[in-house]
């Protein structure tokens, strides 16, 4: 358990350090990466651990965001209470839809979740009485702690990092628990998992619901940060971006999810010199990463021990001698 805490501490302190030096615009991007990272830790449960290809993750982010937006602006609820209810409702929806949907596998599940996301978009863009249509919902209130609003990029980043740290630690705890192992077993071999007494359906639904919970929390944070929601932010293209972030960061690792979210959020900024050719280049770069770096950025870490192996082997032999009689 020490390593996860260490990693979380590194990420949080890196974030806090950056928050002191970066200008406001970069802090905004950093905030968006934190929100994406929270959503991605969720997607990592569904896709990274349980192997469920979900192309509808943005719909769950959207449900959280729209839930909070509607409850706060139409019913005058406090954002905290709205966040709790919106997240619970999204989780319940994921459980209900997951029950029939998760019987599907591979590209069938991918296309079904894609259809879910497209349907969510159509409803959000056309149910004008509830969602404001394509104009979206504006004037979402800020989160407050002890009467003080979390306003501005810097305070929001600190708050976001605290949430990210909490979710990262919980995710690590689930990863090492029997439930996390059950999800990975289901991904690797469903039949073998079922033979060893794992309830495959329940495990898949649990992973799906967990992913929706993280997505909804990310959506609520997004709504409170941007203070405006519109259907465009939750289109299926965003679901694909989430999946791309997870693959670029490194499949099925929590660290990879956080790295992927940060890299793909800042990439447009780094490629600004390309001007309008940026997106054309972005697609080619994604392709290159998939071809040449199939295990993502976190996968690069795998090469490190190999490079260091002589130095690491030496202390090990020393300690073996010390342990000897």
């Amino acid at each position: 358990m020490r390593v996860p805490f260490l990693i979380t501490a590194v990420i949080v302190s890196a974030g806090v350090l950056l928050s002191l030096v970066l200008p406001d615009y970069h802090l905004r991007l950093l905030n968006l990466s934190v929100v994406s990272a929270i959503a991605l830790i969720g997607l990592n449960f569904a896709f990274g651990y349980a192997g469920l290809i979900s192309l509808g993750h943005a719909a769950f982010v959207g449900m959280g965001a729209y839930g909070l937006a509607i409850l706060t602006t139409r019913m005058g609820w406090s954002p905290w209470r709205a966040m709790l209810v919106a997240t619970t409702a999204t989780a319940a929806f994921a459980g209900l839809i997951g029950l029939p949907l998760l019987r599907l596998k591979g590209h069938y599940l991918a296309l079904a979740t894609l259809g879910l996301n497209v349907s969510f978009y159509i409803v959000a863009a056309n149910w004008i009485d509830l969602t404001g249509g394509t104009n979206g919902i504006s004037r979402i209130p800020e989160l407050t702690i002890a009467g003080r609003a979390i306003a501005g990029e810097r305070p929001f980043l600190w708050f976001g990092l605290a949430v990210l740290a909490a979710i990262t630690i919980v995710a690590f705890m689930i990863h090492t628990s029997r439930y996390g192992r059950a999800m990975i077993a289901v991904r690797d071999d469903e039949t073998a998992a079922a033979m060893s007494g794992i309830d495959v359906t329940m495990t898949k639904i649990a992973a799906f619901v967990l992913s929706a919970v993280c997505a909804a929390i990310a959506g609520c944070l997004f709504a409170c940060h941007v203070r405006f929601v519109a259907p465009e932010d939750f289109s299926y293209a965003h679901s694909i971006t989430y999946l791309a972030m997870l693959i670029v960061g490194g499949e099925s690792t929590i660290v990879g999810a956080i790295l992927g979210a940060a890299v793909l959020t800042f990439l447009p900024e780094w490629l600004r010199f390309l001007g309008s050719a940026y997106l054309a280049f972005f697609g080619l770069m994604m392709l290159a990463i998939l071809v040449f770096l199939p295990s993502g950025i976190a996968g690069l870490g795998r090469y490190l021990p190999r490079l260091r192996s002589p130095t690491r082997a030496a202390p090990a032999s020393v300690s073996a001698k010390e342990l000897g009689p």
Binding site: H107, L111, L114, G115, L116, A125, D189, L279, A280, F282
Partner: protein, 291 residues
């Protein structure tokens, strides 16, 4: 009544385009196992190949169409070498994201080349009308349906009457066995991609005069082609045709009789319904669980 028959012809024409896009998608899927999320951008490229040849290069339509389709065939071969070959052993998600990534590149290359202003691609039968059962419809719609029927006929001849087509079916059925039988597997796989690009090209050229040629037209077409494929049955060519027609008709009839805002929800709702109740679609492959 006149309204209804007009709507039916509209629906069948749009459905034909979806069907051709879906057939291209299915040919690639059954031969290579790749779920091509760039399928919609293939159709968009087809439309813009038409724009480049007919509007920019001012070619007369027979040679313009020929040049556009030749460009599409080249593009299919390029896609085979650049995307499919390097990733053919990758997991399905990697391939899905890769085709999406290439789709993004395709869309933005088109945006950089042609700009965001939509083009009006003319039809060879521009301005002609046909009267069917007392209803006047643009001749282009009828031509689209006829061309699609001819294409389907040619595909049937290719797949069931020529050695190349039979070889392609053999590769789709069992790639190992096909290789052991001495078939040039890679050449046949490349041919599947070229065929898919050609079908998308035909679909794009026929769609240009119906919709405006717009660089953002790819995504809606891809989504409709997916819905058509699921409804008809994944991996089935008759399924792709029936599914495409169904999606086209439900879109046109739904828009005028139910709600134009929610017209797309009908086909996606039915697609999800099919996935839940009958994932193999109307004609599709059997889905089996293997240990």
């Amino acid at each position: 009544m006149a309204d209804l028959s007009q709507l039916l012809i509209n629906g069948l024409a749009i459905g034909s385009v979806y069907a051709l896009a879906a057939i291209g998608f299915v040919i690639v899927y059954s031969a290579t196992g790749v779920v091509n999320f760039a399928a919609g951008q293939f159709v968009m490229f087809g439309t813009f190949a038409g724009v480049a040849m007919l509007i920019n290069a001012r070619l007369p339509w027979p040679s313009g169409y020929g040049a556009a389709l030749a460009a599409m065939a080249l593009f299919g071969a390029l896609f085979f070498f650049v995307v499919y070959l390097p990733l053919r052993k990758s997991p399905i998600v990697t391939i899905i994201v890769a085709t999406v990534a290439v789709g993004i590149t395709m869309q933005n290359v088109a945006l950089l080349t042609f700009g965001s202003w939509p083009f009006r691609l003319p039809s060879p039968v521009e301005g002609w009308t046909v009267t069917i059962a007392g209803t006047v419809v643009p001749a282009h719609f009828v031509a689209v349906i006829v061309v699609t029927a001819v294409m389907v006929g040619l595909l049937w001849l290719l797949f069931y009457r020529t050695p190349v087509g039979i070889g392609m079916r053999a590769v789709a059925q069992d790639i190992q066995a096909a290789r052991l039988m001495g078939l040039k597997v890679n050449r046949l796989l490349a041919l599947s991609w070229i065929l898919a690009a050609l079908l998308a090209g035909v679909a794009g050229l026929m769609l240009g005069p119906i919709w405006f040629a717009d660089v953002n037209m790819g995504d809606p077409i891809a989504l409709k082609a997916f819905a058509a494929t699921i409804i008809g049955g994944f991996g089935s060519l008759p399924g792709a045709i029936v599914g495409g027609m169904f999606v086209g008709l439900s879109e046109v009839l739904g828009a005028s009789y139910v709600s134009s805002a929610y017209k797309d929800l009908i086909s996606f709702g039915i697609m999800i319904g099919f996935l839940l109740v009958r994932p193999q679609g109307v004609f599709g492959e059997r889905i089996q669980d293997r240990g």
